[in-house]
Amino acid sequence: MVRNSLGRLLPETFNGRPVLPYADPFSLRLERDHASRPLRRVNPGQSKLLGSLREAVEASGLKDGMTIATHHHLRNGDVLLGQVVREIDALGIRDIRIASSSVHPVHAELIPYIEKGVISAFECGVNGPIGEQASKGELKCPIIVRTHGGRARSIISGEVQVDVAFIAAPTCDEYGNMNGAFGPSACGSLGYAHTDALYAKCVVAVTDNLVPYPAAPISIPQTLIDYVVPVETLGDPKKIVSTTTRITRDPVGLQIAHYAAQVIEASGHLKDGFSFQTGSGGISLAVADNVRRMMREQKVKGSFGCGGITGYFVDMLEEGLFQALFDVQCFDLKAVESIGRNPGHMEISADMYANPFNAGAVVNRLDCVILGATEVDVNFNVNVNTESTGYLLHNTGGHSDTAAGAKLAIIVAPSIRGRLPIVRDELTTVTTPGETVDVVVTERGIAVNEKHVELKRELERRKVPVRDIRQLQEEIYNVTGRPRPLEFEDEVVALIEYRDGSIIDAVRKVKE
C-alpha cells in the first residue's frame, strides 16, 4: 500500500496495472507521442452499411479481452450499450472492458453480463447501481473513475486503447457523417464521442435516423467511420435530455446561489471577457440567474460559457451576454435546438474541453465555475463520487478538470444533506483536491481557501458571511452532531483517477 500526497491509502497495483499516486494538480507530464490507430482504405463504391449490430460486432474484429466504448449523451435514455453487450454475449465473446464516457442507472441491465464474465472491468465512471453493487462487494468488476478530461487524456495517450467504438449517431448518412442535432434521438453535442472516433481502432456509427448523403451539418466526419449500422432506436427521447432545467425554488438553495453570486462579484472577474460554467442543477442555475442579472446591470459582455449547456446559457448567448458557448454536452432540449441554429453555440470535444495533456484546454480559460459536492473537508478537498453510505454512485464528470482550470472554483452545497453535515474532518472519497478549490458556499456561510486573502478581505468588507471552514464545520455540527465515520473493508473496488492519470483515491468495499 502507498499513500498519495493527500494521505489517501492506495494499492500499489490495481487490476494488473501499477498505481501512480497523486502528487499535485499541475506538475505531472507525459514525455511520449499520442496513441496511433490503423490506417484504412475505403475504395469507391465500397459500402460501410451493415445490416445489424451483430454484423458490426463481427466486422469490427472484437475478441475476448478487448475494450469497447460508447458515449453518454443519451444519458438515461441510452439503449445502445445494452444492445451491443447483448450481441457480444450472443457471439460468445468474454472479458470485455467498457471504456464509455459514463455509465448511467439505465445500464444496470449490464449487471447479469458482469456476473456472467462478458464484462470484466470498467475504464470509466459509473452512475448508479453498478457502482453501488461493486461497493457492496456483490460485483467483481474493477472500476477506474475518470474525469471527462482524464478520459480523453487516457485514450489520446494510449493508456486506454479502445478497440471498437460504437457511436450513437442521432443523424447519420451511409458514409458515416453524423451529428447529434437532429433526429428522434437528438442529444445535441457529441463532444465525448470525438475522441473515440479519432483513436478507436474501429469505429461503428449506429443510427436511428439514416439520412441521404451528405448529412449536414457534420459533427464527426466520414473519414473516421468504418461501419454504419441503422437500428430501430437509439434510446428513449424522454430520458435523453430533460425537457427543461429549472432554477431552484428552495429558499436555502436560493440563499446559497445569492452568496455564490456575491463571491463572483467580489472576485473582480465579472468584467468584459468573463467566462463561466455551471452545471444544470437548480442551485447552479440560480447562480447563473444572479450572474445574468449582474451582467445586465453592469453591462458586462462575457466571452464564453462552457461545459454541459442548458437553455439558460442559450438565452444568455442570444441576449449577447456571451460571445460563444463551448458545448461538450447538451443538458436540455433548448440547448439541443440551439446547437443546430446558433453559430456561436459550438460543439467541442472532451479533449478540447478538459484534457490536461494537450496544447491548452478550454477549462484553462475559465474565470469561474460553479460545482457541487456530496462532502468537503476542512482542507477544501471535495467528494462527488460516493454518498454518505460509502457507495460509489456518481461519476466525476468535469469536476476536477474545471476546478483545476478555472481561476475561481466555487463549490455550492447545502450545509446539511439529509441529516449529515457537508463539511467533514475526513472525506469518504477525495475526488477533487482542495488545492484547486477556492470557495465553499453554504447557506450558513462562505469559507474561502486561505490562498485567497484578498478575496476573503473583500467579502468581509461587503459584509458577506465569511467563516473559517472549521468554524463553519462547528456551526453545522451544532445542528447535526458529529457523524460517525463509515467502516470499510480493505478490498478496493474502484480507483478515482485524477485528470492527469495519477490516483487521487481508492473506493473500498463497505463493511456490512
Binding site: 429558499p251 436560493l254 447557506e443 461587503r462 459584509k463
Partner: protein, 306 residues
Amino acid sequence: MAGFQLRRSLLYVPGNMPSMLQNIPIFQCDGVMIDLEDAVPLSEKDAARSLVRSFLQTYTERNKEVLVRINALDTKWGHDDLKAVLPALPDGIRLPKADRPEIVETLDTLLTEFEEELGLEIGRFRILPSIESAEGVINCIKTARSTKRLIGLAFGAEDYTASLEIERTKRGEELFAARTRVVWACKAAGIQAIDTIFSDAGDMEGLRRETELIKTLGFSGKSLVNPRQIEVIHEVFAPKQAEVDYALQVVEAIQRAREMGTGVISLGGKMVDAPVVKRAVRVLKTAQAHGLIDIELNEEVIYGQE
C-alpha cells in the same frame, strides 16, 4: 431612536417543522415569527411548543429578532404557549386577534408576571399585536397605546376580510381604509406598522407592487410566509441614494453643532428638528442593513436628539 430595529420583513416559520426552524439563522429577514397558532394542527400543539422551546434554547447566537405567535389567550393553548416558550427567551410575542386593547393589557400583565418569576427586567418581552378584524381596526388607536411593550401593530388581511365577509383581492382596495388607520394609530403612538402577508409566493411582481404601496402608506415592513419574498421586500424598502445623501448631511450637521457646542442644528440655512434627525437615522440604519453605506453612527449624538 434608541433601540432602533429594522422590521422590513418578519417571516412566519411553522413551529412544528424542525427543518424550517433549523434554517432560521440563515434567512436574511429582519425577524421571524415562530408560529404556534394557525400553522400548527391541534394534534401537534404540545409537540410544537416543546420543539420551539428546544430550538430557542439552542439558537443562542441570535442574528435576528425572534417573536413567537402564540394562540389567542381566550383559547386553552395560549397560556400554555407562554409558559413553554418564555423561559427560552424570545424577543417578543406576536399576539393574534387583538380586537380590543384589553386583550393586549392582559398579555402585558401576564408577561410582567413571567418576568418577575424569571428574574428578568420588566418590559423585556415585547408585544406585536395583530389587528385582524373590523373591531380590531376600530380599536387600534387605543390598542397602539395600550402598553409600552408594543413594538408595533401588525395588520392581518386574511382574517380582516373574513370579518368583513368579503374577498381579498390582489389590488387590495378593500384593505386601504384599514391599513391607513393602522398606520395612523402606530405613527401617533410612535411604534411601527407591519403589513399583512402577500400570500401568492410565486407572484413577485404582485408582491413588489403591494410592498411599494404599503411603504408609501407608512408601513415599516411586512409579514411574509415564504423566504423567497425577502429579497423583493428589502429591495423596495432600500433607501434611494438621494435620501441617503441627505441623511448623511443631517448627521454631519448634528456632529458639527455638537462640536460647536450649540443645541441649534441647521442645514443649508434650515433648522433640523427632531423628526428630521429621527428620519435621517432610520434611513442610515436601513442603508447600512442594505450594505449601501458603512459608517459608525454616533449613538451619543443620536440620543442627544431625543
